[in-house]
């Protein structure tokens, strides 16, 4: 016997952990025969129903059709009976399997037969419905073409746009049918409906004065245009804004429809619907259980085995895809080598890089604060200027009204450029660089809306010098402050739309013409535009967050958003087809989808904050809107609960009290710790099983070698 230092025999080596390991051996030699005859191989083959007829017949065993069918019948007891189409074989084999399945069922009971036939007819009906409804899918053909020519990364952007159109449409239907429709019905007296006004009690009359400038009398034509663009004048008194919904209840024959409650509940309903729909969509694309800590999007197996988009039909697109795959693989391999170099950095290099990063982050924070402060100042200026306006009809006044939107758009345009320059000094890995820049841009976009709203509130609740004494808010400047906030959101949305159209018309197309026809070096270095998916998606998310926040103050905003995204789809499609060159660095569909949905979820959660503050904290305006007779908008709910029967009231008050919430929190914490412990135990088990599999495989190969040797030398 050799000592522990030597390997176990000829052809064996020691691996890093000291175990004997077979040297690499080319396949096609003797071991393959044995491997195919192993019981595990045979049962796997039988279970999947695959045949080996089309393979070179080294393997004589489970090859014939009859064998496959018979073996299936043996296995049938072990698992749920799958339908014939789930077998991996050609059509003829599937027929045989289906016939044998049917032959079997002849022996089963009546009830089994009935269950089987009803299952089958149900499946058939469902597939018919699915086939028909696929025609109803919006833009199916367009998106299919885009996928064929540009790959799944860009196609995911357009699917996302389609999802936005649908989401906003459903939100609009929800809010319209529960809030706007009853109001309109009662105002025009359809179905013999009447309105119930309750005069607000304990309110100083001074708080209820509200005279929107309705443009009665002779006005210039451009006043209408200005009103359309800024939501004032004739638009302010329409159902577009909060101020229109002045009524307290609608009485249709005998039923009393509580409009304030409906308004608030419709708001919660569309927020909850959006949240649940987004969650469902993000989980759909991400059904992996992350037993391993590795990032599933960045794994090499994902890039190689799922690398090629089989739906590409255009040879040019295929060529580009080849190139981008090559580039991506080479970059990733390079990054890995870089990681090793980074791990070998000296202490002083690390110190230098970390201090540089801290410094640059300080610069980034400074830039962000600069942007936010300018947004705040501009909003305050614009509000003050529009409230004491002498020349209410001039172009300058319109510009001042749009100043917050202009500043936000400029900030969102310039800051990302600065970020992408700064991040090069921070010496991160390329993939991390992209993510970091994206994160900063997302934060800028969403926080600028927050800053705008915060500055609006600081104006509305500006209570120095007793400005808001009787009413709780600055009633002189803002008799109907919800309509004002609604107007700001409306302006943001309109301006966003105008910017998208203007950029397409005045930047994208001229750039394409310039690069195609002008051969100056500078112009050629600028080059054709790439379709930047992340920037476009951030645009959408920004618009959608505005819509979510704004719908409470302006119930018809989802309709405007639907129309806006509908038009934006066609604009972006034309820009893509006519001006863009495909991106050098590919974007993967699944990674992008998940990223879009996560950022959209963040936007939605961020939208909860301003809405929460408006509904629960700031007193509702007493001059307009459905919540005149309440202190804050939220008070509708406690008031309604007080009308319920006593038992139900007690339950509801019990559930929302601290005595219930604290134990619930403690129980949830315990459950969470239990689940974390379970997860850790599972991870450990999986590691152990993997090690065991490796050992078993080594044993198997060892035994096979021994048998082969023994066969050769009898």
């Amino acid at each position: 016997m050799s000592g522990p230092g030597a390997a176990a025999g000829p052809g064996w080596q020691r691996d890093s952990s000291g175990l004997s390991v077979l040297a690499e051996e080319p396949h096609g030699a003797a071991p393959v025969d044995f491997l195919q005859e192993l019981p595990s191989c045979q049962s796997a083959r039988r279970r999947r129903g695959g045949t080996q007829e089309r393979r070179p017949a080294l393997l004589g065993t489970a090859g014939s059709r009859g064998n496959a069918a018979r073996a299936l019948q043996q296995e049938k007891g072990e698992r749920r009976d799958p339908s014939a189409r789930e077998y991996t074989g050609c059509m003829a084999e599937k027929r045989i399997i289906r016939d044998s399945q049917q032959a079997d069922t002849e022996h089963s009971s009546e009830w089994e037969k009935w269950r089987r036939t009803s299952c089958k007819s149900l499946k058939k009906a469902l597939s018919e419905v699915k086939g028909l409804s696929s025609y109803l899918v919006l833009w199916r053909h367009d998106i299919h073409n885009i996928e064929g020519k540009y790959g799944t990364g860009i196609q995911s952007y357009f699917s996302f746009l389609r999802f936005m159109v649908l989401l906003n449409f459903i939100n609009f239907i929800l809010v319209f049918s529960f809030v706007t429709l009853p109001t309109i019905i009662s105002k025009y007296g359809v179905f013999n409906s009447t309105i119930a006004y309750t005069s607000p009690k304990n309110i100083d009359n001074i708080c209820t004065i509200y005279e929107p400038n309705d443009n009665k009398g002779v006005v210039y034509f451009y006043t209408y245009l200005k009103d359309l663009l800024s939501g004032t004048g004739f638009l302010e008194v329409t159902s577009l804004f909060y101020g229109y919904y002045l009524i307290d209840a609608v009485l249709i024959s005998i039923t009393k429809y509580n409009l304030p409650l409906a308004y608030l509940l419709a708001t919660f309903a569309y927020l909850a619907l959006s949240f649940l729909w987004l969650l469902k969509r993000s989980v759909e694309g991400f059904k992996q259980n992350l037993v391993h800590d590795a990032d599933p999007f960045q794994s090499y197996c994902n890039k190689v085995f799922a690398g090629w988009d089989f739906c590409i039909t255009d040879p040019n697109a295929a060529r580009l895809k080849h190139r981008s795959l090559q580039y991506e693989l080479q970059t990733d391999l390079q990054e890995e080598r870089l990681k090793q170099k980074i791990a070998e950095r000296t202490m002083e290099e690390k110190l230098r890089i970390y201090s540089l990063r801290v410094f640059i982050n300080i610069i980034v924070i400074a830039i962000l604060s600069g942007c936010f402060y300018s947004i705040y100042r501009v909003t305050v200026f614009s509000q003050e200027d529009s409230s004491d306006s002498d020349n209410a009809n001039s172009l300058v006044n319109l510009l001042v009204q749009y100043l917050p939107s202009i500043v936000i758009t400029l900030a969102n345009f310039i800051a990302p450029l600065i970020f992408s320059i700064l991040i090069r000094f921070e010496d991160y890995m390329p993939a991390f660089e992209i993510r970091m820049t994206l994160l900063r841009c997302v934060f800028l976009r969403l926080a600028s809306i927050g800053v705008l709203l915060f500055s609006l509130w600081s104006q509305i609740s500006d209570c120095r010098n007793d400005k808001c004494e009787p009413c709780g808010y600055n009633y002189k400047l803002y008799p109907c402050w919800e309509s004002d906030v609604g107007q700001e959101m409306y302006k943001l949305m309109i301006f966003d739309f105008i910017v998208i159209l203007a950029v397409a018309l005045f930047v994208d197309f001229p750039r394409k013409l310039l690069v195609t026809h002008c051969s100056w070096k500078l112009v050629q270095w600028f080059g054709h535009q790439e379709f930047e998916i992340s920037n476009n998606v951030l645009e959408i998310i920004y618009g959608q967050t505005i819509c979510w926040i704004g719908t409470f103050f302006s119930p018809l905003l989802p309709a405007i958003a639907t129309i806006k995204y509908f038009i934006v789809f066609y604009v972006k499609k034309i820009v893509l087809i006519h001006t863009c060159k495909p991106a050098a660095r590919p974007v993967r569909a699944s990674g992008s989808n998940f990223f879009f949905l996560v950022v959209l979820l963040i936007g939605l959660l961020l939208a909860f904050v301003p809405l929460g503050v408006s509904i629960a904290h700031i007193p509702s305006s007493k001059a307009c809107g459905p919540f005149r007779s309440f202190n804050t908008s939220w008070e509708v709910i406690p008031d309604t609960v007080l009308l319920f029967p006593k038992a139900l009231q007690d339950i509801i008050f019990g559930v929302t009290s601290e005595a219930f919430a604290v134990p619930l929190f403690v129980i949830l914490c315990i459950i969470m710790f239990y689940v974390i412990a379970l997860d850790r135990a599972h991870k450990r088990m999986v590691e152990q099983l993997r090690e065991q599999l490796v050992l078993e495989s080594r044993d198997k190969m060892f035994l096979i070698r021994k048998i082969t040797e023994a066969q050769k030398n009898p």
Binding site: H27, G28, V32, L35, A44, R48, R55, P56, A84, R85, E86, T88, C90, M91, A92, R95, R98, K120, K124, S127, K130, G131, S134, H144, T152, G285, F286, Q288, A294, P296, F297, S299, Y300, C301, N302, V304, F305, A306, G307, W308, D309, F310, C311, I312, D314, P315, A317, A318, H322, R323, Q326, L329, Q330, L333, R588, S590, L693, V694, E696, S697
Partner: protein, 190 residues
């Protein structure tokens, strides 16, 4: 549309719906595209004729695909091994690549397509050929040998559970089930 519906008998259509993952409209569209590949005189009996490989590769869905030869080889049931496809083979192919096919079936066929030497496992040579298919056919589009070595090492590290240097079907299915892109990329819709 109505014309091609009358060329496939109703019970055959129902059988195809039962045995594949395609809907009725998809089967009819497939029939229409398949019969366009046949010469005019053979179009009457579309479902019993075989289309030679060169014709199949003129389909736009396949002509830009680097795995076109493997796809024809895997799905063809021709006895003469000339990779010609009948209509049923064509339907089988579309069924596996359709949206509603289960991920089990897709991964099984993906394994067979990637197994270039058809020995039942993906070894280093198969992986090397696979990566070369992905990056393109020219000389300058291939990875260098060190890069290829590094890449194959990484792939085997991630997917070879029993560390025998090859990827068998179960390991492949396991690693592909955790790949988020697979379902959306392994798809052909006419």
């Amino acid at each position: 549309m109505g014309g091609s519906a009358s060329l496939i008998p109703r019970d055959l259509l129902g059988e195809y719906q039962e045995l594949t993952f395609l809907s009725k409209q998809e089967i009819l569209l497939a029939y229409k595209r398949f019969s366009e590949l046949l010469p005019k005189d053979e179009r009457e009996n579309g479902w019993s004729a075989r289309v030679p490989k060169s014709q199949i590769l003129t389909l736009p869905e396949l002509r830009a695909n680097p795995f076109q030869h493997r796809i024809c080889r895997v799905f063809s049931t021709s006895d003469t091994r000339d990779d010609s496809m009948s209509f049923e083979d064509f339907l089988d192919m579309l069924s596996v690549f359709s949206d509603s096919a289960t991920s089990d079936i897709k991964s099984h066929y993906a394994f067979r397509i990637f197994d270039f030497d058809e020995d039942g496992t993906l070894d280093r040579k198969d992986l090397e050929q696979l990566v070369n298919c992905l990056t393109g056919q020219g000389e300058e589009s291939r990875l260098s040998s060190e890069e290829m070595e590094q890449l194959i090492q990484n792939i085997l590290e991630e997917s070879d559970i029993d560390k025998d240097g090859t990827i068998n079907l179960s390991e492949f299915q396991h690693v592909v089930s955790r790949s988020p892109d697979f379902a959306s990329s392994f798809k052909i819709v006419l």
